[in-house]
Amino acid sequence: MWDYTEKVREHFLNPRNVGDIPDADAVGEVGSLACGDALKLYIKLDDAKERIVDAKFQTFGCASAIASSSALTEIIKGKTLDEALATTNQEIADFLGGLPEEKMHCSVMGQEALEVAIAKYRGGPVPTHHDHGHEEVEPGEIVCKCFGLTDTFLKKVIAANKLTTAEQVTHFTKAGGACGGCIPKIKELISEVLGAQPTEERKKPEKLTNLRKMQLIQETLEKEIRPLLWADGGDLELVDISGSEVQIAFRKACAGCASSGNTAKFVELKLRDLVADDIVVQEVEG
């Protein structure tokens, strides 16, 4: 059973603001029956068309999807459109006292419905990833076919929530959670986003002795990195460690794969993140 907070339970059992607003100023709709959750958000503005005076929702989904929608409507009521737009999915989760990580996509769905509603009201491109047949959709290349998610959307969520693993991306967006075919691409997006971040922002591991560092590198390769490669039929072997230089050789599907450079980069970022900032990964013929 999910370890839901009392607040999630309470908002699920007594959701606030269920329903519709017939003369709503803005309506945002995301998700679908096939995806397993969907949210339709109605927003009513004051006469000056500035401030949100009422918000209502309809949600198809699990307990945390319903609770997240309820939280969202409570959060945005009384805010100006710009203030509302600044709402993050983390705020929705925090409002509920937190969500299990596997359920974070429910908070992302709420935030997204809000963006869609406001974008449609303002007449800009609709920043949705869900296939709703909207005319104008924010540019982006579909990365996850199963859930219709674009690179633009995924990168935004990765950056906003500082995600570092494909599994986290699945928990936050669902991408990768069905056929899994998009996982390699998700990993590339993670390295892109991580690579773009200033190093100071990442948590710096404490100073390590050489021996401990070697142990950690081996452990991280075994426990964190190889399982991810196995999922795609690939593998790697640790060839040598000297100081901060880690030599690896790719096996099976990774060997000779055009994107193995990316994979090496991914391994490097992962090791830097989990072991030490100065690690350099070199691919060698093994």
Partner: protein, 391 residues
């Protein structure tokens, strides 16, 4: 709050009589059955009795019963044994709707170079025996086909499957995961084509953590748990004596309750099914046209999501389970419902009720009273449900 427990395919209550039977074997009769003294010997006698009782329920002989630690171990042991016995054969056949205890192992083996055929099922969860016939060949080491499905209760025609394997398989082993079938429907290994069969104690009112692998006399077996000589060298490790004795008693009781299961329990299930279909529009039974276990009802409601239903039912003390994505942490509906091609409008809204002899008519009445308003409430909240209700 008194619970109404309708999740017996997940696990069952330990029958009080079963518990009484095992109780002395912790603090008083704790001897090791392998010991040479009287103190271990008396436990050995009870373990033998348990073996006889399990064998009796299956129509097997006692030497064919190997006690294991769970259903999962039995499944793993059977498949691993077959590929050890036939190292040159590289083909395994199973179905898309197996329990992960079988499916995960097979998929792992496929990464290690095995050719794995996963047989499809139709919209009602039934096998296509022609697909099996076409798949079995001399390279096939083992066919593992479950007796009854844990999610839908759909029962496979095991003896027909066995006949095809014996005709076409050139000695391929036939294993069946009968974890959900044993104790619910009659099984007679004396008249069966099955070579190996898995049982799990906690599905038939024995404790968790005890299982059986039936291995037919004459079928070669290579244990994957090695060490001591227990279970005639087929499963090393000191016996879980109390749990074995409990399982023996549970099997004896299952034999006695078999008729009740197939009459009274089945009638309760059928009444629940018929009434829910009457009271709730746009509901469908998963596997409703197929032969099913007497205790299982998998029912799908369009426009709502299963976890939300379960949580609202749980507020009323009703314990059921779902084949929906959200309960498992995965994002897709269960692999069983997907294999059946359950329409996406309701795949996310499937609920499973699984009964046992401990359920009563009152339990059924309570569900019939509580469930329809729950579904209606969630539909009113759901954008798709509202469209439907307004139409």
């Amino acid at each position: 709050m008194k619970e109404i427990y309708m999740d017996n395919n997940a696990t069952t209550k330990v029958d009080e009589a079963v518990f009484e039977e095992m109780r002395p074997y912790f603090c008083d009769l704790y001897g090791n059955p392998s010991s040479m003294h009287f103190f271990g010997g008396q436990v050995q006698k009870k373990v033998d009795e348990a073996r006889n009782r399990v064998a009796a329920l299956l129509g097997a002989s006692p030497e064919e019963i190997v006690f294991t630690a769970c259903g999962t171990e039995s499944d793993n042991a059977a498949i691993r044994s077959a590929i050890e016995v036939y190292p040159e054969r590289r083909h395994i056949i199973t179905t898309r709707v197996e329990h992960p205890a079988v499916l995960t192992l097979c998929r792992n083996l496929s990464k290690r170079g095995y050719r794995v055929t996963e047989l499809n099922v139709d919209g009602e969860g039934r096998l296509d025996l022609n697909e099996l016939r076409a798949a079995v060949d001399e390279d096939t080491a083992i066919v593992s086909v479950m007796w009854a499905n844990n999610e839908t209760g759909v029962v496979f025609p095991i003896e027909e499957v066995g006949k095809i394997i014996k005709e076409k398989g050139k000695g391929a082993f036939f294993h069946t995961d009968a974890v959900q079938a044993v104790g619910k429907i009659p099984i007679d290994m004396a008249a069966s084509t099955v070579d190996m069969l898995s049982i799990s104690g906690h599905k038939l009112h024995a404790p968790k953590g005890i299982g059986v692998l039936y291995v037919r006399k004459g079928v070669p077996f290579r244990p994957f748990m090695v060490g001591g000589h227990q279970e005639h060298n087929r499963r090393a490790g000191t016996e879980n004596t109390a749990a074995i004795i409990a399982l023996g008693k549970a099997c004896e009781l299952a034999g006695q309750w078999m008729e009740d299961e197939n009459t009274r329990v089945k009638a309760m299930r059928d009444r629940l099914q018929t009434t829910l279909l009457e009271l709730i529009p746009r509901a469908r039974i998963n596997g409703g046209q197929a032969e099913r276990l007497p205790n299982t009802l998998s029912i799908a409601f369009e426009f709502v999501e299963g976890e939300a239903i379960l949580m609202l039912l749980s507020e009323k003390g009703i314990c059921a389970s779902s084949g929906s994505a959200c309960t498992s942490g995965s994002l897709e509906p269960s692999h069983v419902l997907r294999a059946m091609g359950v329409p996406f409008t309701c795949a996310h809204g499937s609920i499973r009720f699984s009964l046992s002899r401990f359920n009563t008519d009152e339990d059924i009445e309570t569900i019939i009273r509580e469930l329809p308003p729950v579904v209606r409430r969630l539909r009113e909240m759901s954008p798709f449900g509202r469209e439907f209700l307004n139409a």
